[in-house]
Amino acid sequence: MNNPNTVTTLINKTAEFDVAKIRADFPILNEKIHGKPLVYLDNAATAQKPSHVIEVLNDYYRETNSNIHRGVHTLSEKATAQYESARNKVKDFVNAESTKEIIFVRGTTDAINLVAQSFGRDTLKAGDEIIITELEHHSNIVPWQILSDQTGATLRYVPINDAGELILEEFEKLLNNKTRIVAVGHISNALGTINPIKTIIDKAHAVGAKVLVDGAQAVPHTRVDVKALDCDFYAFSGHKLFGPTGIGVLYGKEALLDAMPPYQGGGDMIQMVTMEKSTYNVLPYKFEAGTPHIAGVIGLGAAIDYVNELGLEAAAQYEIELLDYANEQATQVAGLNLVGTAKNKTSILSFTLDGIHPHDIGTILDGEGVAIRAGHHCAMPVMERFNVPATARASFAFYNTRQEVDALIQAIDKCQKVFN
């Protein structure tokens, strides 16, 4: 920070990115917790919602609520148009080729289970291999364990180093002509590591494997281009992208989705049903059985409008600077140990404090209005790797400020005072 050029750049960037104005878009940020201003640093668990999303949801239920793809009445046509327009927004957002490649699901977990049970179960046999990594969230581990049990395929894990980065040489050793699926997180939810997924995808394709990317933590922080990545599947959740809970997206290459059997049977996913058999609907409807979360889809579309308007690139740059600042402050705290120090990371500060259990940190920080996550972050293999039962995790979004980082550091100090 002593370099004057760096400071000037910082000031300019900060000036471009008006955080105060952005914060005014998120009504919940005005809440008080135990009489203190809310400092919301649990964005990796779920992000807060801008007024625009809240209003779109409100308007939908007040003015448009109706079932889609069925009615000939005005409301149904309106609801269908809004629903399909949101699909188009998602398509553009991730730069997919066609709306046929955008399947609405409940969330990232649902998307991964869909791929495991439809694509995986249909194509894997005993002796085949699936590669995942030690960094994964449980939702990108358990569906593959279930699939392995069902098919007799073997599950292999790419190890991580002490910084929390994937060891690519080990990944290359695991790849062979039996590898059918590689499933990897774009950004680690526990440590914030940004994985080199383009390299992973290319190397997996070289042996003929298909690649699923768990993008739950990535879409709020980085511009995703599925065509440039050339991934086969990309999964993410709406609620971490400032949209509603209960809605998510599975992107899949059209040819793959087309060849896959349905995941669930029901209404909307069929063309014709007789008592003997059914013929299935075309993409993407084949994978959307039953009345979907219509409001959720429309709300997700509104969230995408919001982040597009804001500019994800500028937001990402701001977040990197905020994380740098948080890192700088945290490393000055005696007795604080950072967990996950990857060179390429974003928005997540996972740490432990000497002699203080993360759950006690979580409770004491809450007393100061600071909301963080304490626990294993649904990534127990990561905790095992670092030999800790749990960590405290502060995770940032573009509406967080340096003042909030200072509040976090002060609350950590309070924590240490309570215990010493």
């Binding site: 009489g35 759950h359 409770t363 004491i364 626990g375 039962p389 215990f419």
Partner: protein
């Protein structure tokens, strides 16, 4: 007025820093594990009893301050108690951390320091893990205890 010290009282901080009766009890006649899957708290309880009295009791494991202090205070309180007294204390502790009812301060002694836990619903299971483990052990149930 909200004060975090209502939860983390001096007694709790002290018992967390230097837990009493901590470590494996050689020749224990009952050993039972307690596990809190959500937070990963784990403890093992060791007991020596003649069927009438708890002659010795100890624990080891890892967990948050609330769970460690609770186990430390509990083992201190239970030493030399009859099984009947242990059951009474179990019920009174349950009353202390899960209800707003009056509690018997004389009976609970230092355990009353855990009264603040009831204002933190997510932390009640931290305080009660060792108690449920003891309760199961005394009932002769040897399946590991899980609190959820």
């Amino acid at each position: 007025m909200f004060d975090i010290k209502d939860l983390y009282q001096e007694v709790i901080v002290d018992h967390n820093r230097s837990p009493r009766n901590f470590g494996k009890l050689e020749n224990a006649d009952t050993t039972l594990e307690g596990f809190n899957p959500l937070c990963g708290d784990k403890l093992t309880l060791y007991l020596k009893t003649d069927g009438v009295t708890i002659n010795d009791i100890a624990f080891d494991g890892s967990g948050c301050a609330i769970s460690v202090a609770s186990a430390s205070l509990m083992t201190d309180a239970m030493k030399g108690k009859s099984l009947e007294e242990a059951e009474t204390l179990f019920n009174e502790f349950h009353n202390l951390v899960t209800t707003d009812n009056d509690y018997n301060e004389e009976l609970l002694g230092k355990l009353a320091a855990l009264a603040g836990v009831k204002d933190y619903p997510a932390r009640v299971k931290c305080a009660s893990l060792c108690w449920h483990t003891l309760h199961s052990a005394l009932q002769g149930d040897n399946t590991p205890v899980k609190t959820e």
